[in-house]
């Protein structure tokens, strides 16, 4: 059973529909027992880090998420929340992965938000999520904040600065882009996640 954690964002429907196109029936919930019993957990997120962390706190989910042992995928803001701290609202995040979420630098010729299709550069092509994904594949991004490239980066992308497009740390995965809206490449990444078991 794939569980999508409700309550920390508004792109939940499109994620649910993307799994439905893969023949899965994800459960949307904030229920601790269901989340703990899931085979795979999705932490979505569109919105601000501060707002999302408050929601998780109100739902008593912070410690629950930290303790999950099954594969977890944070999408967009959800990936950012897996890290220690976000400059967006100066908020403590889940702290599962080391690193701070920072505003992308403003440079001439680069828009902010970083919005549109950009290329993935595989940093760790052996990662289970990248199986079958061609280097330099295009995926769809919409964000202003990002995690710098670090030891957990499995794919990077460059806009006004290089940043982590995908991360992995033990059973925790993150995608800064929206796999649910990234065409067939995104579908493959979601399928790889579903097929992965620890």
């Amino acid at each position: 059973m794939i569980v999508i954690i409700k309550g920390c964002g508004s792109n939940i429907a499109s994620i649910e529909m993307a799994f439905a196109r893969l023949g899965k029936e994800p459960v949307l919930t904030t229920d601790v027992k269901l989340i703990q019993a899931a085979s795979h957990v999705i932490l979505p997120g569109v919105g601000t880090a501060k707002h999302a962390m408050l929601e998780l706190q109100n739902l008593n989910l912070i410690e629950v998420i930290r303790q999950l042992k099954q594969p977890v995928l944070g999408i967009c803001l959800g990936m950012q929340l897996l890290h220690e701290f976000s400059e967006e609202g100066d908020v403590e995040c889940l702290g599962i992965l080391p690193g701070k979420v920072a505003l992308l630098p403003q440079k001439p010729g680069f828009t902010r938000p970083h919005m549109g299709w950009n290329q993935l550069r595989a940093e760790k092509p052996q990662s289970p999520l990248l199986q079958g994904v061609a280097d330099k594949s295009h995926v769809y991004f919409v964000h202003s904040y990002a995690v710098p490239v670090n030891a957990n980066t499995i794919a990077s992308t460059t806009h006004s600065a290089p940043f982590s497009a995908m991360v992995q740390y033990n059973n925790f995965f993150g995608a800064q882009f929206h796999p649910e809206r990234s065409g067939t490449v995104g579908e493959l990444i979601l399928k790889n996640f579903c097929d992965y078991s620890k």
Binding site: S10, H51, P113, G116, W117, N118, V142, H178
Partner: protein, 254 residues
Amino acid sequence: MLTKRIIPCLDVRDGKVVKGVQFANHRIIGDILELAELYSQAGADELVFYDITASSDNRTVSKEWVKKIAQRINIPFCVAGGIRTLADAEAILNAGADKLSLNSPALENPDLIGQFAAKFGQQCVVVGIDSLKVSDDYKVCQYTGDAKKMLQTERSTVDWIKEVQQRGAGEVVLNCMNQDGMRKGYDIEQLKFMRSQTTLPLIASGGAGSMQDFLTVFKDAQVDGALAATIFHSGIITIPELKKFLKENNLEIR
């Protein structure tokens, strides 16, 4: 590097895709779902659905077709039309839309931009601006979905672009009204000027008539995306051939 986005725009009226010339005389083009799937499979980078009479009729877009589109396609899409409250916005995002575009309601109540950005994030708040050249200035128009209700505001387009950025918008779609539906090319002069006035992603709209028009607007006005309706709906150019042409001319294209 970010690719330049090709964005078919589907103007929706009573559940059908329609197209007018300079915002009037709309004729039916086809079924929403069929066109959404067709464009998505043809390589469109994004789709925009405008419920063109929602604002002037004082109602919100139908969540039913938003949901059906979201179920079928795997590329991002933006929904516009009479979104006036946080509840409207939430319902549309929950139906599966990726972005919301505010146009007339943002002019009625500019605070909406900041409220939406705070709740849903800057990245899903698009502001659509209908800009008309009036003597030597550009002015913002409102309620452009209905020729009888349309009005020209006192706001200058450049001031409004700066204001929406400051209020938290994540993207601007600039509809250059003098060019709309004319197929004589984008308004390069205006777009180039507005490009220099904002760091937000800027989408050109109005006037595409040939593949060369896309190349020109990307190269000369440095916009992030180009939106078009007529030339795609009428089959004058197809998205695969357009993308091939732009790639051959050294643009970054998906």
